[in-house]
Amino acid sequence: MNVAVMKTRAEVALTEGFAGVADALPGSDEVRQARTAAIGRFAAHGLPHRRIEEWKYTDLRGVMKDALPLAVGDQTKTTIADVIVAMGALGRIDAPRLVLVNGTYRRELSNLDGISGVVVTPLSAALQAGASASLSLDEEDRGSQALLALNAAYVTDGAVIDVAAGTKLAEPLLVVHVRAGGIAQRTVSRSQIRVGDGAQVTIVEMFVAVPGSIADGQTNAASEVVVGANAEVGHVKVAMDLGQVIHLANWLVELGTDSNYRAFQYTSGVGLARNQVRTTFKGENAKLDISGAFLARNSEHIDTTLFVDHATPGGESRELFKGVLDGEARGIFQGKVIVRRDAQKTDGKQMAQALMLSETAEFDSKPELEIYADDVVCGHGSTSAALDGELLFYLRARGIPLKEARALLIQSFIGEAIDKIDNVAVREALMSEAETWLAASI
């Protein structure tokens, strides 16, 4: 039976609006065809809604009332100084960077000098050259299929990063998505990261806004990561101080044999975020750590949804997500770990913890283990609690004033997650961002 679904205003705008902007989007004829096919797939699905299992807690169809106009061909007079300020504490990190302003690559704001062994190009250039395969990314659940289809149809730009085998980069490589100009609009980006065998690299994807230019916004960002054999990859995502935006991010990651992939996602000051990550163990004995920190207040809504697919033997996966929730904020953690029949000797551990600073905040946690192999060690846990009154008393009995005692406990809570970031400069910058955020809650 085929139930006809009423299309919402946003869905109609997203479907029918495509024809109006198609000419302005980068790409060869072949790419154009792929985009048109993608908008057709989106039209069939519609926006993700709460009746799709994976979207139970984030009813995008209900929340997204309208589609904002697509940002194409950015015209803002954004300066390097604006970009540095938008990056907050991470602006102090002296590292090569590719900058996109409102979804468009801005060469004069980027700095990719002096990196060898890594080729960084804007996705728009690849699409012009006819790389329609760049749009083929897909997910398993219907909701995310719809978002990836929308992403393929509308994507304006992104970073294509090719790290040659054996390359070792000491500095992190930054991909900075900046919102500027105070324009209410929708940005759609996609990045591809391919790390060759034995290479070592840290990549930081940032979503930030020039202060004072906060406006409603919608972001659909996708990243595809392929980690080669024996490669060591740090992959950090930062989404902060974006205001009342709907931020939808999808990572799809494939791990090669004996690789070590360490990912971290930091989210604060974002109206609604859905951070979805799928990692697939393609080669044997790979190691995965995906952790994160989310800080939310007011009516912010932060959803982290992970799929860890142990398809090969000997894999190790670790997930630690910690959230601080104040006001009416809502945190969601869904973590599904699948251990396939061949994935013997898998070792997986998952933990999600929320610290509730108000009685009206909410945390929903849904860990899931699906194990088809017999020789595995897997565990998961989840906690949600207010600051411990007895601990506060202990600190205060030692002379530490209430505010300082609260700060110490909250920082140590979130610090345990942030400590997972290997790169010292990135770790310290994010800790300082977290402390700034927390100062308003203490």
């Binding site: 009154g389 007895e390 601990l391 008393f393 202990y394 600190l395 205060r396 009995a397 030692r398 002379g399 530490i400 004033p401 209430l402 300082e404 005692a405 110490l408 406990l409 920082q411 140590s412 809570f413 610090g415 345990e416």
Partner: protein
């Protein structure tokens, strides 16, 4: 001087009184022991001195150096020199011992009008005092009390006490769970802090500790009241007779 006057205490959300009119005076320079059966209210008294919120003082007063401390927050009391060594020291995951000690030491120094300790000055002090308590400084780089044995936790309390330089020390069953060597180390640490300006209240269930920390006076707390007071020989007597007779008194 510590003066506890007709102190009545109950749990904040309940009716039953735990302390039913405590009167006690501990002059500076003296060490008084409080002994008593389990559940008699010893820890309650200790917590109320330190300012824990779950308890409600329904009558009476506590004066330290002539000033009532009942209206003070726990951290204000600490700044005034009050220190409680907890019967069950807590673990603080994620907060390194050294950070904790330094934050605490500097918080009270600031409130007492002293200069904050510089990092080298703090490290010198903490190394010295940790060494005398047989505590490895490496251990203090770990989160406070996490993974410590019972004895290590008790020594860590005494180190905190040494770092905060309080003038009123309340020790709640600091001897429980210690073997004889650990007991001696802890007792030496406490004795090192004895002085003409400090008052100490040593709470214990057993007489054993009082061989090492010799008290000026011993008080028996049973059923919410001080039932008897005497010299250090009272502790020995209790060791023989137990607390049975106070059951009769209370009835």
């Amino acid at each position: 001087m510590l003066e506890i006057k007709n102190l009545h205490v109950k749990i904040a959300d309940e009716d039953a009184e735990i302390l039913k009119g405590i009167d006690l005076v501990v002059p500076r320079g003296e060490v008084h022991a409080i002994m008593g059966p389990n559940g008699s209210g010893k820890s309650t008294l200790a917590y109320v001195l330190a300012g824990r919120e779950d308890y409600e003082v329904t009558d009476g007063d506590i004066l330290w150096n002539g000033e009532s401390i009942l209206g003070m927050e726990p951290d204000e009391r600490a700044a005034k020199g009050v220190f409680l060594a907890f019967q069950y020291p807590m673990e603080i995951p994620g907060v390194a011992g050294l950070t904790f000690l330094r934050t605490a030491a500097n918080a009270v120094r600031k409130k007492r009008g002293h200069e904050e300790l510089t990092t080298p000055a703090f490290m010198k002090l903490v190394k010295e005092r940790a060494a005398s308590l047989n505590i490895d400084v490496e251990m203090l780089k770990r989160p406070v009390n996490v993974g410590f044995s019972g004895g290590e936790k008790k020594r860590s309390e005494i180190l905190q006490m040494a770092m905060l330089e309080p003038s009123l020390c309340v020790l709640d069953e600091t001897d429980s769970g210690l073997d004889i060597d650990a007991l001696r180390i802890v007792a030496d640490g406490v004795n090192a802090l004895r002085g003409p300006d400090r008052a100490m209240l040593v709470i214990t269930h057993y007489q054993r500790l009082l061989n090492h920390i010799v008290p000026d006076k011993v008080h028996v707390l049973a059923y919410g009241k001080i039932r008897r007071s005497g010299g250090k020989e009272l502790a020995l007597e209790l060791e023989k007779s137990g607390y049975a007779e106070f059951q009769k008194d209370a009835a």
